[in-house]
Amino acid sequence: MQIPLRHAAHVRSGDKGNTSNISVIAYSPALYPLIKEQLTAERFRAFYEGTVKGRVERFEVDGLQALNFVAQEALGGGVSRSLCLDNYGKALSAAILGFLLEVPAHLRGELVGLQPPV
């Protein structure tokens, strides 16, 4: 089944100049390999197309079941000169929560925030 990433991972953005880092942290060790396999740097870049204008690099911290995406040219020239209302891109991480993840049925119990099946 396809579910939004929101049910499998939590996220946070940080800023340095014109670069945003967005961490994607699996809710459970069982979900991490799915995210690692499906949410590649290329797919992440495509998801943010037009908003992130530069290169995206992905770092993996397997021990914490976390991916760290570093997106260049993501903050309108940099926090200090950006005309975006959210200069720091603090809310930028939330978008990726809508990325669709293919999750096998047997891992349904690992997901967070799902309504009980009807």
Binding site: K16, G50, N68, G77
Partner: protein, 449 residues
């Protein structure tokens, strides 16, 4: 010393003060550390000082913060390390001495750490701007401030000399927390393994409540108990650099594996090479263990030898921003907003607005995430936000003037704010560069209450 208890007192200039008071009074702390400087803080202070010679040049909330925490800290013997000195650490130290005397405490040693300001030297010391590869010298006409990020060593020197309170100018955020560990445990400044661990703990602490549930709640997914009553974190550090991140019992918020993981990667690029003035931190081997409610044990962080250079943040005047907004609601709101946008773009042409960058966003629709915002569903309410960056304040003022005109010369059913005066602000752009470490010489001076 067996366990060193270090608490956070602020994560930025605008942070809450009550949790700092609580940490001072009930945290049983050996150290309370304050981080109050953002990238542009020093530059903004320089610009303000040019305009207002009365401006003291240190944290504008210093009085509030010191009045809140000094009684608790002095009663317990808690030492304070703080970067509230901004561009005038000596002034911050003097003001702290004033408050100590007001509270009847004599003979308390206060140190000021300066030497990070290298505005007059940076053009000769540095080569290239890190962000764009241009020569640093090209900034000479716009430069208002350049500050090197100092490490923990001058703070350790002050603590060794008996300072109870240390007020610094620009110091790397985690170094404020690392310094007490180096001093109390006698860590060698070149022991990159211990410094890596300690600085990693400092990184978890530097953003205050961001690790205790203050930047975490997402209803239905991540619940935070009593988020109105958040506490600032406390690190219980061992001499081997492992630590427990926790908070005062009975407060709101939470410390768990999720909050610690989010903070661990916050503002980090390569987690194996997090560069600080004291050490390169390697987070890849980090091990986290929930050892009790609101108690996360952190170990396995590592470090690599520090770099030969220090990072310098350079603030430059880059013109002005003019900004205002107006509103639509109800059926057809978005269509009216789009027509308003067309009218404004034409009007800016008519008045010859010279903008270096211009945005007209629909707040509630695409203002935050920009191009990736979905077209559907149509919003019920839209704020039209108009913003331009210009060379001069006169140009920036044109934004507000044209928004005013939309009140009667625009689109039907336009909502507006009461016209307000201050719709422009000065822009201080930040660039970074590197300078040789030995060119930056921290200075520690002492006062006594």
């Amino acid at each position: 010393m067996q366990t060193l208890r270090i608490g956070a007192g602020a994560a930025w200039w605008g942070d809450r003060i009550e949790p700092a008071r609580l940490n001072a009074e009930a945290g049983d702390l050996d150290y309370l550390c304050f981080e109050t400087m953002a990238e542009a803080t020093a530059s903004a202070a320089q610009v303000r000082r040019r305009r207002d010679p009365e401006f003291a040049g240190f944290d504008t909330y210093l009085d509030d913060r010191m009045q809140a925490v000094l009684p608790g800290c002095l009663a317990r013997g808690t030492r304070i390390v703080s970067n509230q000195g901004w561009i005038n650490p000596q002034g911050a130290a003097e003001r702290t001495v004033y408050w100590l005397r007001q509270l009847g405490h004599r003979g308390i040693r206060v140190a000021a750490v300066s030497g990070s300001l290298i505005t007059d030297r940076v053009l000769g010391l540095a080569d290239r701007i890190l962000e764009n590869g241009e020569p640093v010298a090209s900034l000479h006409s716009q430069l208002v401030s350049a500050e090197a990020y100092l490490g923990a060593e001058p703070i350790v020197e002050a603590l060794r000399a008996g300072a109870q309170i240390v007020m610094t100018s620009r110091v790397a955020d985690p170094s404020l927390f690392l310094a007490p560990m180096m001093f109390e445990f006698g860590w060698d400044p070149l022991d990159h393994l211990l410094l890596g661990r300690g600085n990693g703990i400092g990184h978890l602490m530097e953003c205050g409540a961001q690790v205790t549930g203050g930047y975490f709640a997402d209803p239905g997914f991540k619940e935070v108990p009593d988020p109105w009553n958040l506490a600032f974190p406390i690190a219980e550090v061992q001499s081997d650099g492992s630590a427990v991140i926790t908070k005062i019992n009975g407060t709101g918020g939470l410390v768990d594996l999720r909050t610690v993981k989010e903070q661990l990667l916050y503002e980090v690029h390569d987690p194996g090479n997090y560069i600080t003035p004291d050490v390169i931190v390697d987070f890849l081997g980090t091990q986290l263990r929930q050892e009790g409610p609101d108690r996360v044990h952190v170990s396995g962080i590592s470090g690599k030898p520090r770099t030969a250079t220090l990072k310098v943040s350079m603030g430059c005047t880059e013109g002005f921003v003019g900004e205002d907004m107006f509103f639509y609601a109800g059926p057809g709101a978005l269509r009216r907003a789009q027509l308003a946008r067309e009218i404004l773009l034409q009007r800016f042409r008519i008045v010859g607005l010279k903008a270096e960058d211009l945005r007209i966003d629909f707040l509630g629709y695409n203002a935050i995430h920009g191009a990736i915002s979905p077209a559907e569903p149509e919003p019920y309410e839209v704020a039209v936000r108009v913003v331009a960056r210009t060379r001069t304040r006169e140009e920036a003022l044109k934004v507000g003037r044209e928004v005013d005109a939309m009140a009667v010369s625009g689109v039907g059913m336009t909502g507006k704010r009461v016209p307000h005066q201050d719709r422009t602000r000065e822009v201080i752009g930040i660039w970074s560069t590197l300078v040789p470490r030995e060119e930056v010489k921290p200075i520690v001076t002492y006062l006594e209450s």
